[in-house]
Amino acid sequence: MVYLFAAYAVFWGLTFVYVFTIASRQKRLQEELGTLRRALEREER
């Protein structure tokens, strides 16, 4: 049972790490995009 638990823990661990990485990169890029759009608007005015 320990091996079974360990194997599924590895699966969930790696899946969550990868999903979390994508989500945090997406959040950072969206914030950066917002900042850049505002800066561009200011420049165009």
């Binding site: 079974l4 194997a7 790696l14 994508i22 997406q26 850049l36």
Partner: protein
């Protein structure tokens, strides 16, 4: 006002629901294997993760060819995204396989008796080199072109790794045989459903990761626009 249909949301939900169903099948529906006992339940996710790994590298091959033919940045993003996902799932297959090997073969990593272990390590290193190649090149078009060629060449290792268990027939069992898959009906249903679940999960992750690539391009485009505005 009705909500607009978003493919990401649909795939997120579908992935979640099929994953719950897959866990139900693995732990409650599939019978316990007579020789190995509960540890055999690792098989369903181990093989499915390996399948996604191989499939992801195949998608990289197709996207790389498409990029070289059409030169569209979208194909390059798909190729890169698929390598990332492929490496994650291949690593999963390797680690869960090693955990399964210990109680079954009495060794964590019997690479001297099982050539697939060496080949899968080479496979992972080859695709790690793909990511390193991209990290070291600076000019975007050159990076995409070199990566596409490398993505095509690196795929040669995938059929070798897949077929190695048939050629050498050492410790690793052959799942997909010429005559079919030798599993009890309830195990076969569970196995096929897990393959479907992991394939849906792959496309869900691919969509999210590709959108991330497009977003990064958009950010880069705005940065350049701002820089040129400052310069002018």
């Amino acid at each position: 006002m009705g909500r607009r249909f978003r493919l990401e949301d649909f795939l997120d939900w579908l992935s979640g629901l099929t994953m719950i169903a897959a866990l139900y099948l693995v732990f409650l529906y599939a019978p316990t294997e007579a020789t190995m006992g509960h540890v055999q339940r690792i098989f369903y996710f181990h093989v499915s993760a390996a399948w996604v790994g191989f499939f992801a590298f195949f998608v990289t091959l197709v996207a790389s060819i498409a990029y070289l033919r059409a030169g569209k940045r979208d194909w390059d993003i798909v190729a890169l995204s698929s390598v990332e996902i492929g490496m994650t799932f291949t690593a999963m297959a390797v680690i869960t396989g090693s955990i399964w090997a210990k109680p079954t073969w009495n060794a964590w990593w019997p690479w001297q008796q099982e050539p697939r272990l060496i080949l899968v390590t080479i496979l992972l290193l080859l695709y790690l080199a793909y990511l390193m190649l991209r990290a070291f090149l600076e000019e975007e078009q050159q990076k995409a072109r070199f990566a596409a060629v490398y993505g095509i060449v690196a795929f040669a290792s995938v059929p070798f790794t897949f077929l190695s268990v048939r050629w050498w027939q050492r410790l690793h069992p052959v799942v997909f045989e010429r005559e079919g898959i030798h599993l009890a009906p309830a195990m076969l249903v569970t196995f096929l459903f897990c393959l479907l679940t992991f394939t849906i999960l792959y496309f869900t992750l691919l969509l999210h990761r590709s959108r991330l690539g497009t977003l990064a391009d958009e950010v880069e485009g705005l940065k350049q626009k701002l820089r040129s505005g400052e310069g002018g």
